[in-house]
């Protein structure tokens, strides 16, 4: 590997790396919140909410991420809303991933024994309180492995920002590759930068999993 390539272009790489971290953090938070809301929608007794949740999941889960991002980047301007490449890429990423997260969390909610809801409701908690204080904490603990998979995918999928000029790691990787003509080495460094984000993420999720398991 040619490290002068890295040192010569460190400014571009770092800029991209920081933007990828930002996109990942925002995407992670956004997709987790959205996904949880959609999962809860699908578990309510309200027909419209169930329908909305189902339609949301089936729509965003079954079209390519690229299309979701194009919808935000090229589609929204026709409604008078113009979002930057970074914003539309990150939002597309969050919405797309949230549909998978919603399914994971829904599976977790279903795995929590019914007695938990019954006990919570009979001790006077409202439906919403039951969900947020009793069911969701247990459900999310159960689905940490599939959730961390989704989060790792989200980090990697954030490379979609490069298509809509989102100034992420892949975007600058493309530029460095075309400017230096050293495609293989450039993308190897890009891969290393992604690993710097994803390896701790998968390690962290394993630690978290073990820590939470101890409380059972």
């Amino acid at each position: 590997m040619d490290f002068s390539l890295l040192s010569d272009n460190i400014g571009l790489f770092m800029q991209g790396f920081m933007n990828t971290i930002w996109a990942s953090l925002l995407g992670l938070a956004g997709s987790f919140i959205l996904g949880t809301i959609i999962a809860v929608f699908r578990m309510t007794r309200s027909r419209p909410l169930v329908w909305f949740g189902t339609a949301y999941v089936e729509f965003f889960r079954n079209i390519p991420l690229l299309l979701v991002v194009f919808l935000f980047y090229l589609g929204l301007p026709s409604l008078g809303i113009t979002l930057s490449g970074f914003a539309s890429g990150t939002m597309g990423l969050a919405v797309y991933t949230s549909s998978f997260i919603a399914e994971a969390i829904r599976a977790g909610i279903m795995a929590v024994p019914k007695g938990q809801t019954e006990a919570a409701r009979s001790s006077g908690l409202t439906y919403v309180q039951t969900m947020f204080y009793v069911i969701l904490p247990q459900a999310i603990k159960l689905v940490i492995p599939p959730l961390s998979n989704q989060f790792i995918n989200l980090v990697k999928n954030s490379s979609i920002l490069s298509i809509v000029a989102g100034f992420d790691l892949m975007y600058y990787g493309d530029i460095v590759a075309t400017e230096t003509f050293d495609t293989i080495n450039t993308y190897l460094f890009v891969a290393l930068f992604y690993l710097i984000i994803t390896l701790p993420l998968s390690y962290g999720s394993r630690v978290l999993e073990r820590k939470l398991a101890r409380h059972d």
Partner: protein, 267 residues
Amino acid sequence: MKKHWKMISLGMALCLAMTVLAGCGNKKEEGGLGAIKDRGKLVVGVKFDTKLFGLKDPSSGNVEGFDIDISKQLAKRILGDENKVEFKEVTSKTRIPMLNNSEIDMVVATMTITEERKKEVDFSDVYFQAGQSLLVKKGSPIKGIEDVTADTKVMSSKGATSVKNIKEKVPGVTVLEFDNYQDAFSALKAGQGDALTTDDAILYGMAAQDPNYEVVGEPFTDEPYGIAIQKGNSDLVQAVNDALKEMHENGEYDAIYEKWIGKKPAE
């Protein structure tokens, strides 16, 4: 102790992956004139998304344009049959790696001859003289390069010379770079930026595609297009240059130029 082994084996796996990947880049096959003649087919990298130069017609599947006609004439002169040519799609981003990986024999894809690129590939003589210009929505306040300021958002294609040029002309300008010119044009149409910049030849093709957009101002650079060939294949470069010269002399070049650009080439 167990932990150590884990780390060591992980490290070894990583090293292995790196060597394998790095090794891929060094694969070089014998290209050149002889290989082309043995194969009986010229493999040319062209654009599939650039009107007037190389555009794939989705209904017929044929690629058409100035670069295509030039390539066919080259095949006719090198192999004796203008149909003995295969077109592979390249973009500004992929054309040099594909050429150096011997996936294609030459690049005829609106490629400007630059000193930097000359370090990577060999170029033929200039086969088209273009200049960088601006494409804007009709009625835009931008009437030429002098109206582009640091606040203007300009779009272009990754790896294109036009990015460097506009940054030199207008320091601090925001350039949004896309994978190809069609994506850049889509983004311009969606209002994601103020102007699209690249060679006028490509811009005229886009303006022809959507009459709401126009090319403004005089070209502000010289962009001599060359045919790129893997380094060291001097016999192939010579063959291409001879062919180009012959086409200029017998008027075939002018005919192709007029067919696509709509006017006679400037002297």
